[in-house]
Structure formats: structure tokens, C-alpha cells
Amino acid sequence: MTDVLETPATAGPEPEVRDRADVRRQIKLVVVLALVLLAEVWFKLAIDDPTVYQLFKGPRTKENQPVEFDGTLVSWIAVALTAIALLLAIVNRFPRGVPGVLVAVAVGVGFYGAFLMWAYADPTGTFSPAMTNPIPGTIRIATALVFGALAGVLCERAGVINIAIEGQFIAGAFFGSVFSSFAVVSIASIPLFWCPVFGLLGGVLAGVGVSAMLAFFALRYHVDQVVVGVVLVAFGYGITSFLLGQIPDDREDQFNNPGLLEAVDIPGLVDIPYIGEALFGQNLLVYIAYFSVPLVWFLLFQTRWGLRVRSVGEHPKAADTVGIDVNRTKWQAVLLGGVFAGLGGASFTLSTGAFDKEMTAGLGFISLAAVIMGRWHPLYAGFAALTFGFLRNLKDQLSILDDKVPGDLLSALPYLATIIAVAGFVGRVRAPAADGQHYVKSD
């Protein structure tokens, strides 16, 4: 009897079969790009007078007046870019990886330009609104988002889901204001410049405090992390509103009139036209944010502590079997996350003024979205936070054009776009494998 009945195939080339996921990707790209192209063409055709006014060089003064600008070219470049991308998608040559992201960003920027040209076109005379530089507003909003995203990255890399960033923001904002006000009024020995820095300390303490509650319930008592997080947000809103109500009107100065962080120009860099003032004429907190993103990356990916934090978030039992104290490591990461979330919270009051109820307005949840869109990586999450800051700022800027663009719709659009982007194109995002799981040692 023969042993071998048949040998259908030994190692050879893989069969030529197209991955269904690849087909889906192509369809998605073609549909979305076609819609973008249609929108851009419509923007172009809806313009009667392509003249727009722009004021990108700093604030409006007597010398610095809006300049006329012909938007035709911008609209056509946008259409051309999208058309090229669409063609690439149709023949399935749309690049993957980093080049793909670059093409997508180029199309996005083009769309932004075409949209602006349409929104600001057809001026009604010298009083019509002018386009202004988006960078300062973006940085202002993104500062808090970047800190929040870093807090989220640190916690989730250690396997603790942190929904409570919003709660840390509101607590940080309140106590930042209180500490700063207190320093201004009551501690005469501190120079005025350093009072808001004292406020930062208040923000940090508040952020770490909320983190400690999260860790206490989630790690010590194994309460579901999402539930604890939601409760802490409600708690943060409630307790700060209550405390605010307890401040008597006549003592407002003492408790809720913070000194603001002063802008510090970085010599040289601040003189770069268009972007210098916006990026390097900022206050201390903004510079801390710039510095924190690479710092967190370094901590997580280049140090012993970071290796342990990530191992605990991916495979706690493996960490345990080499003698790492899983819950202690998680505690450390969550508390450090609190430092950043608290700084983010403090930026609400120390950059803009007195604390007001629920002033963080859900930005903590946007940071959480930035964590996911940034794939739990500090650098990408930082960029995602910048993107969200940009979109939020765009909404503010366009609010003066209410008759052309309904503001409420506009405020919803960025998030809709995000959901589409994350669900459709960011791909299978992989969270730390043990994110949100309790680690219980058997005994």
C-alpha cells in the first residue's frame, strides 16, 4: 500500500487572492474621496466673487489691516489634490503607511482651504470678516487636550482605563484658580509672576487626588474602571460647583481671582513670521506641554519604569512571574497621569481667568478620543490632541459667519468626522491587551 495518496501543494507562491479587507478599504477611500471632491467643486461653483480678506500676521491694529486675497487658486489646488488621490484610490494605488497619511493630510488641508475660501468669499464690503491665523487658538485649546491625552496614555498603558480625565480637568481648574488667587492675596512674599505657578501646584494636587481615588477604587477594590471614571466626573462637577457656591461674594478675590500665567517670549524663535508669536510667545504651561510629550514617550519607551508599565498593561501575569509588583506599578502610572491631567485642568483657569461651573465643557472626553486616535502612543496622541484643538478653534473662528455656516452643526461636524476617520481608516487599533482588566493574584 502506498503511503502517500496525494501531495496537492508543497511550498510555493501564495495563491493570488485579494484580501476582502483590501477591497473594503478601496471602496471606503473611493466613496469618501468622491464626496470630498464633490464638496470642493460645489464650494468653488458657489463662489461669485473669489476675493477674501486675510489677517494672518498677528492681531488687528492700525498698521496691521486685513489684506485682499484671490481664493481661486486655492480652490482649484484643493480640487486637483483630491482628484489625484481619488484616481489613486480607483486604480488601488493609494499609498499605505506614512505616505498614505501624508496624502490624506494633504487632501484634508486642501479641503480646509477650499472650505475657507467658500466661507469667507463674496465679501460684503470692508466690514466683511477676515480669515485669521488659526495657530494661536489651536494652541490655547490644545494645551489642555495634550495634557489630558498624556494622562490617558499613561493610565491605559498600565492597563487602567481613565474616563475620569474630565473630572481631573474640572478639579485641576478649580484648585488651580484657588491656589493662584490665594498666593496673590495672602502670600506677599511671592512675586506676582510666580503666583499662577503656585496655582499649577494646586492643579497638580487636584489631578493627583482624583487619580488616587480612581486607583483606590479600581485597583484596591476592583470596581469597574469605566464606572469609577464616570462617577468621578460627576463627582468633580458636583464638588467644584458646590465649593464655588461656598465662596462668599465679598471674598471672591481671595479664592477665585487667579493671577494669570504671563507670556514668555523665546528669543529668536518668536520672530519667525506667522507662526513665531503663536508658538513661542506663549505662557509657561504651553512650554511644559511641548516638553511633556517627548518626556512621556521617553519614560514609557526608554526607561525601566516604562517597560514595566507597558508589560503590566499588556500581560500582567507575565510581569508578575518575573517579580514585578503589578498593582504598585499601576498606581504609579495612574498617579503620574494625574499630574498631567491636573496641569491640563489648571490651564483652563490660569490661562484665561476665574473658575466657572462646568467650564471644561467635555474637553476631557475629547482627550480620551485623542488617546484612541493616537493609538495609545504619546507622540501620536499629542498630534491627535492638536487636531482636535484645531477643529474646536475652527468652530470658534467661523462663529462670526453664522449666516453661511450654522455654528451648531459645525460644532458637531469635527466629531462626526473623527468617528468616520477612526472607524473607517485608522484601522484595527490595538489597545493595551489588558486594558481595563483587574489583576487578581491567586493565593
Binding site: A21, Q302, T303, V322, G323, A433
Partner: protein, 506 residues
């Protein structure tokens, strides 16, 4: 280092997992720990490694009593362990996994990755392990992952190395390599505790064999003890190691797969143009090392995932677009490889699990209501027929032993008239008694004229059941052979070697 265990006992509530265990491992000895699934081997080792605290008894190293608060203490004392489920972080590199816990650093806790790489390379060269320190663990085959685990233990200067069921995931060739590595380690003075339930292996490598049954040491014997004797010590009664079956009378092809290709979510082609046919009254065994596409192939046959190319036919009818519900209704019986995940609902009772895929039928429901009396009667009959050891039909399936859980799954699948039976790892984690029973039922189903497809990584099971053997390697069926093929040759095929003496018939 001499390891001595005296009267070690571990109780979980009222259940005694280990009952007063004594064991001595001499320096440079390979000591085999033989026992069935659930006999308490892993519990014992987890106590040795500091993962569990003993209820009673003591552990002595070179005559000194030691207690471990955690695995860190055990590691520091020179005990290393290669776990059955690898303790490796998949997204880390080999070097990162090896350094984790005792990291080489520069000042300030900054990782010194080049030192870690160098250590991995040195150990890899010294014990001839051939491991690349920069590879991501999730990208390397399980056999290599296991060597990473060994390097991890060696890097922390383990003098006693515990290997917990290390051969379960390996090809016969990889098992030979592992044994070579174990001999190398032994020659350099490391003591090894080798845990397994495979008789062939303990006889091949062991210096001493300790058999454990139901948490107690049955005895310690030299490796010259016969397999039959060892099996009897392990199970507690004499067992027949072969399944009695008549020659198959293969009928017409009932179930055919043609050009099945599956691409997984990560974009890897895991099943490559696989075609086969299953004939009525015949067992087709698909054998291969785990992770060579069997899981995805079976899921695509059932309609649990949609293949990216190819068609599946039952009785000449295309069923490629069927979901699992239609596939089952068309007459496919399915025993999934991971029963706790796909086979039963642990929080449901035995009674409910026995009708999980039948409750829709007129027999067990009328409109939206279930016919509870019929379901209860069905449960009673199945429990008797399949000898399911359960306190009552209302007991939760999760409270049963592995063997009885599997019998619930088997009983349910056999309660429908089947044209094809697809069974994936039908006896994984099942005690010897239940293995015998399940094998007999599968053969009985074959004799009734059902086409049977068995997927197994255990060669013993393939030889016991299959009338034809299809070997899967790297997503392809590389050969279809008769079961009189020698073990070594089958092992070579499973490792991807081209078949020798290829007189291709039929």
C-alpha cells in the same frame, strides 16, 4: 541545587488540589512529573514558583527551608519556570521580554537595550537556541517563543528549571530539539522538572518519573517502567491505548472544500488554497502543529468567518455563503477546539446547554415559548446515554470537569441527524476515560455513514481515529496519506518537509 518538597498540601476551600506531596530533585537530574489533566501538577509547580501559597508543608533548597512571597522570591532563589501558557508580552521584542524584571540600565533607569541583546545572544549561542533578540515575540513561532522562555529562566540564573507541559505546542522535530536542549542544560548542571501527560516523552528523557493522581503522589519509578504500567499508575486502572475499529467503508464524497483561502485581520494569508473531500463513513484526520491554519480553515467551513476565496459544498450544494445557523441546520455537527469559548455557555445549566442549537426546533419550542418538559426529558436521556457525570441536569456546565463539559458538547452535536461531523481537538484537556468514550462515539458515528473530519495536533489521536490523514503546514494541505505512515515521516511532513518516495496514487 537539590530541591526537596516535604508534605506540600494545597486546599482551595474544601477541595484538596495537592495532598501531602513529597518529591526530591537531585542536582543535574531530569525529573518527570506525570499525571492527567487536573491531577494537580500545575498547582504543585505554582507553589514551587511562588504563585500560590501552600496550605501546609515545606520546600527545601539544599537542605534549607524557604518560603516564597511571590515569583520574584522564587527567581532569586534560583527556580525558573517555563509556563504552559507562555508568560511573554507579545508586543515586546525578545530582548525586552528577557530583560523584564531585572533590566540592564544606564544611570537613571534608562534601558540599556544593547546589553540585553548581548545577553540573549550569548545564552542563545551557549545553549544553541538560535533566537533573534530583536524579533517581536508575536511574530515568531511558538517553538521559538518557548526557547525565549527558557532564555528568560537562564538569564535569571535558574538552577532548577520547571517545564510545564512544554511539548503540547511543538512538532515532533521541535520536541526532539527541546530534548536536546534539556540534555545540554542537564550537562551544565541545571536540574529540570519536566511536566507532561505523554508517556513516550517521559521514557525518552526522564531520569526519574513521579506519577501524580488526584493530587497525590502515586509513586516514583525509573524510566524503564513500561508504558502500560505508567498509564495504569496515572489513571488508576488499566486503560486501552488503542481504539477498536473496523476498516472504514468509504462511500461517496459528502462534503468538499475547494480552494479555500483565508486572510486574517492582520493581512496574513493563513489558509492557502486548501481543497479536500470528506467521504461518507470515513474519518479524515487533519493533522498539523497548532497555528498552521487549521483554526481558520474550520471556522470558514462552518461560516463563522467568510473565506476570501473558495467554495464549500455539502451534498453537491454550495454552502459557502451559509452562516453557522444554516450550516448546522444543513447537517453539520461541530465540536469546536475551545469548548469554553465556542462550545457551551458556562453559566447555563447542563439541560440548557444540551439544546443550545436545537431550541428553535418544533421539538423544543412552540412559538416564543420553550417546551421545558421536553428539554428536561432530552437532558435526562443524553446524560444517561453519554455518561455525563453531573450532580443534576440543573448544574452549571462550568462546574463540571473538562471531560464532562466536552461530553455535553459532543452529546448535543450528536442529537441531530448529521451528514458531516467536524471535530476540532475533540479530546483536548479531557481525562483518559472520557477520551476513550468520545473516540468510541466518533467511530460509531462514522460507522453510521457520517463523513467525519477530525482536526488534531495530537498524533496519537490522529492515528487512533483517522482513515486518511491530511497534513497541514503553513496554511496548506501538504500531503494526504494513509494512517500506516511511520510517525517520523508524518512528523517531517508536519514540519513542512516534502514527502519522500512520492508515489502519488489516486
Amino acid at each position: 541545587m537539590r530541591l526537596e518538597i516535604k508534605g506540600l498540601t494545597k486546599k482551595f476551600g474544601s477541595f484538596t488540589a495537592n495532598d501531602s506531596i513529597d518529591l526530591v530533585v537531585e542536582p543535574g537530574e531530569i525529573h518527570c512529573l506525570l499525571g492527567e489533566n487536573g491531577a494537580g501538577k500545575s498547582t504543585l509547580m505554582n507553589m514551587l514558583y511562588g504563585l500560590l501559597t501552600p496550605t501546609e508543608g515545606e520546600i527545601l533548597l539544599d537542605g534549607r527551608a524557604v518560603t516564597f512571597d511571590g515569583p520574584g522570591d522564587a527567581l532569586a532563589a534560583g527556580i525558573g519556570m517555563v509556563h504552559q501558557h507562555f508568560m511573554l508580552v507579545p508586543v515586546f521584542t525578545v530582548a525586552e521580554n528577557v530583560m523584564l524584571g531585572h533590566e540592564q540600565t544606564y544611570a537613571g533607569g534608562v534601558l540599556n537595550r544593547s546589553a540585553a541583546r548581548k545577553q540573549v545572544r550569548e545564552l542563545s549561542d551557549r545553549y544553541r537556541l538560535a533566537v533573534d533578540p530583536d524579533a517581536l515575540v508575536e511574530d515568531i513561532p511558538v517553538g521559538v517563543q518557548q526557547r525565549v522562555e527558557i532564555i528568560k529562566a537562564l538569564a535569571s540564573q535558574a538552577q532548577v528549571l520547571i517545564l510545564d507541559e512544554p511539548t503540547a505546542v511543538l512538532t515532533p522535530q521541535e520536541i526532539d530539539e527541546l530534548m536536546g536542549i534539556m540534555r545540554e542544560l542537564k550537562a551544565q548542571g541545571t536540574s529540570i522538572i519536566f511536566i507532561t501527560h505523554k508517556l513516550r516523552e517521559v521514557k525518552a528523557i526522564g531520569d526519574k518519573i513521579t506519577v501524580i493522581r488526584r493530587g497525590k503522589v502515586v509513586g516514583t519509578t525509573p524510566p524503564s517502567t513500561s508504558e502500560a504500567e505508567l498509564a495504569e499508575m496515572m489513571v488508576g486502572r488499566s486503560v486501552s491505548l488503542v481504539v477498536d475499529k473496523d476498516e472504514a467503508t468509504a462511500g461517496a464524497p459528502v462534503f468538499t472544500a475547494e480552494g479555500i483561502t483565508v486572510i486574517d485581520p492582520r493581512g496574513h494569508m493563513v489558509v492557502k488554497d486548501v481543497s479536500f473531500e470528506a467521504r461518507a463513513g470515513e474519518v479524515l484526520g487533519i493533522c498539523g502543529v497548532q497555528g498552521n491554519g487549521q483554526t481558520e480553515l474550520i471556522k470558514s467551513l462552518l461560516g463563522l468567518i467568510r473565506p476570501d476565496a473558495g467554495r464549500v459544498e455539502l451534498d453537491g450544494k454550495d454552502i459557502s455563503r451559509h452562516g453557522p445557523k444554516e450550516s448546522l441546520a444543513a447537517g453539520i455537527g461541530y465540536i469546536p477546539e475551545d469548548r469554553s469559548h465556542d462550545g457551551y455557555v458556562g453559566a447555563f445549566s447542563v439541560r440548557e446547554n444540551l439544546v443550545l442549537d436545537l431550541y428553535r426546533t418544533d421539538e423544543f419550542s412552540a412559538g416564543p415559548a420553550l417546551k421545558l418538559d421536553k428539554i428536561a426529558a432530552n437532558a435526562k436521556a443524553r446524560i444517561a446515554e453519554f455518561d455525563i457525570r453531573t450532580e443534576s441536569p440543573d448544574a452549571l456546565v462550568s462546574s463540571l470537569s473538562g471531560g464532562n463539559q466536552q461530553k455535553v458538547v459532543v452529546a448535543r452535536e450528536f442529537s441531530r441527524p448529521l451528514k458531516v461531523l467536524i471535530a476540532s481537538q475533540p479530546t483536548r484537556g479531557v481525562d483518559v476515560g472520557s477520551i476513550e468514550f468520545i473516540h468510541k462515539r466518533i467511530i460509531a458515528e462514522r460507522d453510521r455513514g457520517t463523513a467525519v473530519v477530525i482536526v488534531s495536533t495530537e498524533l496519537d489521536e490522529i492515528y487512533a481515529l483517522a482513515d486518511r490523514i491530511a497534513v497541514m503546514y503553513d496554511g496548506r494541505i501538504v500531503a494526504t496519506v494513509t494512517p500506516d505512515i511511520p510517525r517520523e515521516q508524518l512528523g517531517l511532513l508536519m514540519a513542512g518537509a516534502a514527502p519522500e518516495g512520492t508515489e502519488v496514487a489516486s
